[in-house]
């Protein structure tokens, strides 16, 4: 439709249809709505022979009418009119096209623009952008010899343009949705890439991640170190989407780098905290995380917990929980320091479970699962091999709204050379010595080594009777040797927690009660350590001796 077309009198019905069709097509195919609007407005203004034209859309939030495009001597793009203001406002409010031959005679006419610009408005033709009774805005033509037929034409154009606007908005929403979907897919990709490669089923540390529909920042990592120990971590990044995924990727990378050499989980978490605070601290994101180190030879775990769900030790049917020793990472450099508490856990043939709140927050039978529910699920799955056990727990909870991530650390050592559970009393000492000597010989020790271990165990049991219980009391004794490693002796009692500070140092106070016995233990064994018992009260004494 050439803009220099002769004045349409008599109005060409076909030309009007052409105009509508052309505009609809232009709106539908263009990605740049504003450019299309200006071109369309110019065509309409030329066709109806108006001096100026404006295109208004209702601001969906404020209800104001905003001029999105205009043609003519004065640029009013961006002009905002209060709801109902002016003739345009009336058209939108009433959803009816109007023809005002003498604008200044109309009480709705707002002369503000004229006053400001010097433009003189004489006549107005205005039609709503109406779709299914809903008005999105209006097209306004200024100064022309408008006739009743023009009003019909502009109304038809308005309806067509309104459809185009709706389509454009839908398309934009779809693009936005697609962008979000791509972002989530990318985040999921990042998350998957950061999870450790599949580990053999008999590896003592196993992990599982069951991603939710929406990506969250759950992660775990398992790392076999050159010294035979296994570093592991589990964590949860607050927030969702690409930011959480990137923060998680960063945390994972830092862990992977530090865990190869760092022997202290507290120092490791503190280093990650410092790094996260430097870059991510201001955005209100944070990371809860447990980092640990597992020694498969001794069956001991050393871990530190920054704001994460307490890990659970499942030992002999009992559960022990190890609460966080510091707040989450990424909040403040001073909150997580190398001085944060570390927990040493002797697995003693048990299994340590770590998980994200996806598990505890999951629902079973309509109730939040909580730690108790997780314990029941662990107990129910206890008979399965480790890798299938985690899958069994997670599969029962999926699908859920949140990520499900769990990790276990299992003491995979073979059966012990000796396991005795008895009431420690002076009368039992002789039998204990006989059994210990047998076990050490069975484990490959010489008679000399057996005599030494017998002495150490005898002194240890005597200390428990004399200084722990002040009489007879229950005692568990375990001797094992795994993979050609040193002989290890574990002695667990239920006596009051030993005050480690009160233990005499080597070579001093040898003739004080217990002091000589302790000296014997330390002399004949390579290592003697006292720890809180893995479950409940009591103490765990661990002694090791290398065998030639």
């Amino acid at each position: 439709m050439p803009s220099s077309s002769p004045r349409r009198r008599p109005a060409s019905y076909h030309r009007q249809l052409d105009l509508i069709a052309e505009m609809s097509h232009a709106f539908a195919s263009s990605h740049d709505l504003r450019e299309t609007l200006v071109r369309g407005l110019r065509q309409v203004a030329d066709f109806i022979e108006a001096e100026a034209a404006g295109f208004f859309l209702v601001d969906e939030i404020t209800g104001e009418l905003v001029c999105h495009a205009c043609v003519g001597p004065v640029d009013i793009t961006g002009l905002r009119l209060a709801p109902g203001q002016g003739i345009v406002g009336r058209v939108v409010a009433q959803n009816v096209a109007t023809l005002v031959a003498d604008a200044r005679a109309d009480p709705h006419f707002g002369a503000l623009v004229d006053l400001r610009t010097g433009f003189v408005t004489r006549s107005i033709l205005c039609a709503p952008l109406s779709v299914q009774g809903h008005c999105l805005g209006a097209i306004e033509l200024i100064n022309g010899a408008f006739r009743a037929g023009d009003r019909q034409l502009l109304r038809a154009i308005g309806a067509s343009v309104a459809l185009a606007v709706v389509n454009a908005r839908l398309a934009k929403a779809m693009v936005e949705q697609e962008r979000l979907a791509r972002e989530l897919e990318l985040a999921a990709e990042i998350q998957r890439a950061m999870l450790p490669a599949h580990l053999p089923g008999d590896f003592p540390v196993q992990g599982i991640n069951h991603p939710a529909r929406e990506v969250s920042g759950d992660f775990f990592d398992i790392l076999q170190r050159a010294d035979g120990r296994v570093a592991f971590a589990i964590g949860d990044v607050a927030g969702k989407g690409i930011d959480a995924a990137l923060l998680m990727a960063k945390t994972c990378s830092l862990f992977r780098f530090l865990a190869k050499t760092q022997d202290r989980p507290a120092a490791l978490l503190s280093a990650i905290n410092a790094e996260l605070c430097e870059t991510a601290g201001s955005r209100g994101t944070f990371v809860t995380m447990v980092a640990g180190l597992f020694d498969p030879v001794s069956g001991a775990v050393l871990l530190a917990n920054a704001g994460h769900e307490p890990p659970l030790l499942h030992w002999d049917g009992l559960f022990t929980s190890y609460p966080a020793g510091a707040p989450p990472l990424g909040i403040d450099p001073g909150l997580v320091t190398p001085a944060m508490p570390e927990t040493r856990i002797a697995l003693g043939g048990g299994c340590l479970y770590l998980f994200t709140d996806g598990l505890t927050e999951a629902f079973g039978n309509g109730h939040r699962l909580g730690s108790g529910g997780v314990q029941r699920m662990i107990s129910a799955a206890a008979g399965l091999p480790a890798d299938r056990r985690l899958a069994a727990i997670v599969d029962r909870l999926a699908p859920t709204r949140d990520d499900l991530t769990a990790l276990l650390v299992e003491d995979r050592r073979g059966p012990p050379l000796l396991r005795l559970e008895l009431d420690a009393a002076p009368e039992a000492l002789s039998e204990i010595r006989r059994r210990v000597a047998e076990a050490v010989l069975k484990g490959g020790g010489t008679p000399g080594v057996a005599a030494d271990v017998v002495l150490a165990v005898g002194e240890a049991v005597q200390n428990v009777i004399c200084h722990g219980y002040g009489g007879p009391g229950p005692l568990a004794l375990e001797i094992r040797r795994d993979g050609g490693g040193p002989l290890t002796v574990h002695l667990t009692d239920c006596a009051p927690r030993l005050d480690l500070a009160s233990l005499p140092e080597r070579c001093s106070a040898e003739l004080q009660p217990g002091g000589l016995g302790l000296h014997f233990m330390r002399s004949v064994m390579d290592q003697v350590t006292f720890l809180p018992a893995p479950v409940g009260c009591g103490n765990l004494l661990t002694m090791t001796k290398a065998l030639p």
């Binding site: 005898g458 002194e459 005597q462 009777i465 003739l511 000589l516 016995g517």
Partner: protein, 111 residues
Amino acid sequence: MTGPFLTRYVGRTAVVALSGEIDMQNSPLVRSELLRHLSDRADLVVDLSGVAYIDSSGIASLVEAFQTARRQGTRFSLAAVSPAALRVLQLARLDEVFLLHARLDDAVTPR
């Protein structure tokens, strides 16, 4: 309850032969036996040849006897110390504190 020992006198010297395993269960008996002869102001020889095991409580009894003898000026020695007992004495670094005789005869024959 009889203790893990057999006592005989050679002149004014009490020879207490410990045997078997000395631990917290029977060391109180050993202790009172040693102190009983010391209170008679006898010289004391403890024969450790038959000791298969001795723990810190047994060692403590020997130390207490040693201290008592020294206070009252009587003689106290260990004789024919079994390898098991010697190991423990060495761990306690008491092998240089006690007077040790390789053979029982050396301990009881007056010089």
